[in-house]
Symmetry: C2
Amino acid sequence: VPKLIDHSQREVEVAEAAWRVLRRDGVTSLSVRTVAAEAGLATGSLRRAFPTQDALLAFSLELVGRRARARIEALPPAASVREGVEARLFELIPLDDERRAEMDAYFTIGSLASTRPALAPAYRALYDDLRAGCRAMLEALARESSGGEVPDEASLDLEAQHLHALLDGVALHLIQPGEASDRSKQIITTHLDRLDWPTRH
Amino acid sequence: VPKLIDHSQREVEVAEAAWRVLRRDGVTSLSVRTVAAEAGLATGSLRRAFPTQDALLAFSLELVGRRARARIEALPPAASVREGVEARLFELIPLDDERRAEMDAYFTIGSLASTRPALAPAYRALYDDLRAGCRAMLEALARESSGGEVPDEASLDLEAQHLHALLDGVALHLIQPGEASDRSKQIITTHLDRLDWPTRH
């Protein structure tokens, strides 16, 4: 988990305004001017907090991760490992409008990151966090299903890459119009049902 | 499969130039001017073929689908249904630089499509084609594994949505730096290995 910068509430409002501009008008409409207008701030005031568009986008991306972590930390205790894993995974796919806006920002800024080096660290941090989170959840499931045995590292890495790809694919489709969200949850639970671990001997 | 417009070779070269600009410089650098320069054409000449940026992007997207279909049609006959399905699925993930450029264009233009109605039909056509292709492959696998029985429609729809999400997630990760492509193929074969169909009785 990267160290969180202590941005003020105003900066959070600015990042949320950036998500709304991205979702409503698209990335080519995003500028310090349009985000300032959306947030109800003077352009100069926005520039003091975020001197460049990349600084604004990097913070918007960091906020996506911070929100997801906060939602996961706020989950009630689960009755079982499996239930806890499902609850966490469902927080990582966009099942409501707020999370659709976050996820849209994640994919859009992520796609910009491949050609804008200033955005790459924030995107990579989220990507690596999600991968590590998938790995930790899978390890917990594997330990439980085998009575404490740990699957080998290579299987765990492969399963983490698999679950991460499935989550991002499901999330990507959920921000399209018309994709059914109840089936998205079922896809994830089916995937978990089918896991079988080669255990270490 | 949407009807293919008979664009000239020059138009294909323009679309490929657009992919290169997208991949190298990002979507915010894409314009009729930058694509004309990349293709070695006068801006006015490009505007005659593609009067708007959206027309250029819609054609670039259509070409992604056309290329994928051509690669799949050119595959040699497979020794089994399963081998044929794997070979087709591997053509749909970006395992080389050319396909990474195509896939980058697919995701980038797809993300623009949510706010630009002129791009939505071309994106939706690709999305629906890929979903239908997944469904047809799964139906062939299910028939073979059950000795001809057809799985129920609801299972087939759910499995098609699942495979489509997995493919898009794997593809999305393969255009990131550092994601191992051999593991991507293994993720897909593992998914196919784990399929089990509730058959119709």
